[in-house]
Symmetry: C2
DNA sequence: TATAGTTGTAACAAATATTATTACAACAAG
DNA sequence: CTTGTTGTAATAATATTTGTTACAACTATA
């Protein structure tokens, strides 16, 4: 299955915060309207980003902001924050393979190292892109649109 | 979400075919017993591997076999064959972002290239590992187990 | 100190995806 | 023609994701 939309929504949210923080108060309602999702979904997601030290959310009067330098936040940080994959493992195994079969009882030890290597390649690439890069891309796209 | 267990099950199945083809007739029941899954799940999976030209399945009298050189089958071939991700896209987007928001209406053009680059890194790594490598790993693990 | 607007979170509902099961026609080989 | 098997449809069970409702906790301000 695909990686949860929570990840792309989180990136969307970060772009929005950066893009509109001067003009608007960044409430969960405002963000939800750009994403076209439920405000509670956005609030839960902001809580995850907050736990990861990426955003600050003000209770009561409201408003979210990014609390780290944009080029110190990588796509991997966001990906990790929103817990797209169970237990940090990208690949899912079928439960309870047959312990009486030599392949069944060893399937994890056979595959784990290779799969981890593949997962590392994905994560390395995610670590090489920052939210600053993404915000730059965003500004370029929005500017080009107006031509 | 994690990548469907169909992928690891498919690899498991290929290892089993290679490991036991001399001793056993490779029926869906035999494979299902090693994986500990339903035989129909295995048959559907074998159909997908067959469509991809990886295995041959004999109807009637029964039996599956790998119909390609093991080092000509990469993990990516298997991954693609079992269609773990919707439409070949690893990352899922929330549907219908707000077209009235500059970020909402451009989110795909903003992110697509970066996400594709990340996906490519994953796929490249998958292409670098063959079923022959995995079968070698498997034989080593099973041999070590007996020490 | 009300009031208005907001977050944080629980509880629940709906939608979607995955995996399992049952059933049976089509087939191959003795 | 019997036995064992595949191919596949239909359906069910389970799990996961996403959405919704509700409301207490909180902040700022009139």
């Amino acid at each position: 299955m695909q990686i949860s939309s929570r990840f792309t929504i989180a990136v969307h949210v970060l772009i929005c915060i950066e893009t509109f923080k001067e003009e608007h108060k960044i409430t969960s309602d405002f963000l939800a309207s750009s994403v076209n999702a439920n405000p509670v979904i956005i609030r839960k997601l902001l809580q995850q980003l907050k736990k990861a030290g990426i955003v600050a959310v003000i209770r009561g009067s409201g408003g979210a902001d990014i609390c780290k330098s944009l080029d110190a936040i990588t796509l991997f940080d966001v990906y990790e924050a929103v817990e797209c994959v169970e237990d940090g493992k990208l690949f899912h195994f079928h439960e309870n393979p047959n312990p009486l079969c030599p392949v069944g009882r060893n399937i994890h030890s056979i595959l784990d190292a290779r799969l981890e290597q593949i997962q590392m390649a994905l994560e390395k690439e995610m670590k090489s892109v920052t939210i600053q890069d993404i915000v730059n891309d965003s500004q370029k796209m929005i500017a080009e649109e107006k031509v």
